[in-house]
């Protein structure tokens, strides 16, 4: 009973606040109209920009409140704001479909919303007096109206998605370019240089052979060593590009192979059957490898575990360690790298690492049917 009374008192507070919101909307709408009219004499431009910013702030606040009232959050629809001079900013704001919907909401909230909010206040007072009747009909109607106008439209959703994809693609392209540069440099300074040295040694040995067999022999054994070193460098390089065991055995085998060579015991659990699409395998392998390396380097763990599972075309990978915890994805480049790798495939990383441990990296990666077949299967390669 008391609880119900509390609920109803809260409803009254919300209704009164709604009147405030609605009035603020009306005021902002008036600013907006004035600003737009003043654009011809230039002063209007900063007024409009400032007003839109305030509108967004108000709308966000409103989204949160209405979301709480209706029991499900309302997503924010805004694209990232354009930087630059005032004119660029205005152009950016006008291009965002959410700006237009916000304006519609301003009008609706300032008129119909205001009326509903007034009714809601009266109703809330009556609700308090007649507690046995169902409360808050007008407030609920007000909340529904707000949600209809404030939730992102299909157009906003698409625009947001395009923005995300553009960002992750740019990151992928950058990472790939950097990766190629690294490979080029490694080959140039490593294996290639050693092969040049090898060729020179062989040529010298050829010259010395008749005159000084002893010197020729020394040169030949130097040449042999150079070729061994070149091979070792190429091996390391290949492992970094696409580990052969991943090609041979797929994700589970490669992760098992990984778990065997670390300095810390690692348990591997998996319910994967068969092979995943090659790009997914590769992204997943490097994400797990990075997670493992990160834990070994920073956590001081004595025991680790890796769990791989596949459900509804969603690959989930969990790397746990019993180390000291306190891993922060916003600081560590390792964790950021994992998140970047996964985001290229619409995957995500979640880190749980309280100080004192344990640390858990939960990674998900959509796979199979959602990806176009980009590579031939290994069977025919």
């Amino acid at each position: 009973m008391k609880h119900q009374f509390g609920d109803r008192r809260r409803l009254l507070q919300l209704s009164i606040a709604a009147i405030g919101f609605a009035s603020a909307s009306l005021a902002l709408f008036i600013f907006m109209v004035t600003g737009t009219a003043l654009i011809v004499v230039w002063v209007g431009v900063p007024v409009v920009v400032e007003t839109v910013v305030k509108v967004r702030w108000l709308a966000e606040l409103h989204r949160r409140r209405v979301g709480e009232l209706l029991g499900e959050p309302i997503e924010s629809p805004y694209l990232r704001r354009t930087e630059g001079n005032l004119l660029d900013q205005v152009r950016g704001l006008l291009r965002d479909p959410a700006t237009w919907r916000d304006t519609v909401w301003l009008i609706a909230n300032g008129t119909l919303g205001l009326a509903l909010a007034c009714v809601a206040v009266c109703e809330a007072v009556l609700d308090l007096l007649f507690w046995w009747l169902p409360p808050g009909l007008a407030m609920r109607a007000y909340a529904r109206l707000s949600r209809a106008l404030l939730a992102p439209s299909e157009k906003s959703r698409l625009a947001l998605r395009v923005e995300q994809l553009t960002e992750s693609r740019a990151e992928t392209v950058d990472t790939q370019a950097a990766e190629l540069r690294r490979i080029e440099r490694d080959l140039h300074d490593g294996a290639q240089a050693r092969l040049v040295a090898l060729g020179m040694n062989l040529a010298l040995a050829e010259d010395e052979l008749a005159r000084n067999p002893g010197a020729a022999k020394a040169l030949l054994s130097e040449a042999r060593e150079a070729s061994s070193n070149a091979l070792a460098e190429l091996r390391d390089l290949v492992r970094g590009i696409h580990p052969p065991v991943l090609a041979d055995r797929g994700l589970v085998g490669a992760v098992q192979a990984l778990s065997l060579v670390g300095p810390v015991p690692v348990e591997v659990h998996s319910d994967l059957i068969g092979r995943l699409p090659a790009p997914v395998e590769s992204a997943a392998y490097f994400a797990v490898a990075e997670g493992l390396a990160n834990a070994i380097k920073h956590s001081g763990a004595h025991h680790m575990s890796i769990t791989l599972s596949l459900e509804n075309d969603l690959l989930s990978m969990v790397v746990r360690d019993d180390g000291t915890g306190g891993a922060d994805p916003s600081r560590g480049t390792g964790l950021r790298g994992i998140a970047r790798r996964l985001s290229a495939f619409d995957g995500a990383l979640e880190v749980s690492s309280p100080p004192g441990g344990p640390t858990e990296l939960a990674m998900v990666l959509p796979c199979a049917s959602s990806l176009p077949k980009t590579l031939p299967s290994y069977g025919t390669a």
Partner: protein, 214 residues
Amino acid sequence: MRVVLAEDLALLRDGLIRLLEANDCEVVEAVDNGPSLLRALTTHRPDIAVVDVRLPPTFTDEGLRAAIEARAQVKGLPVLVLSQYVEQLYARELLADRSGGVGYLLKDRVFNVAQFIDAVRQVAAGGTAMDPEVVAQLLTRRSGDKPLASLTPREREVLEAMAEGRSNAAIATRMFVTEKAVSKHTNSIFSKLDLPPSEDDNRRVLAVLAYLNG
């Protein structure tokens, strides 16, 4: 010694044939893919198979699979696997049947002809020859409370050399001690790892296996 060779790159195949035949080996058949390898091994039953891990048709671990399959059919068939890279996972799989006669080496080990031929002989005689890189990977691991932890540093060194396929005589030369001292170490290793007295070769294999699984 009769050898079956599996290597898909003609350049390397010819080189290996030349190298083996220059060292008293007769290459009875040289194949370039997995299925032919399995057939050749089961029909010729050679003294040793020298096999490249990656072979057609899949270009993955076809050679390794064929070798393991052949050993399932012809028990204890000696196999020396060559590869551009080594994985502990594969070393364990090769040794899993505990019957010895297994080698797993990087292809570059061929450069040192004497050591390579030594490894071929070891494996053909039922011993093991693991690449130093497999052994080195193991050194990075912490050995917990396993029986391996009770080995003295000297004994570990001997066990590593055994894993690489060195004979007692070779180990003695490498460690600058007498062969008798080495055999004292090996006996101590066998008893610490709880390996009952049996044919020495077999115990060596089991000791190496314990080492790889540690």
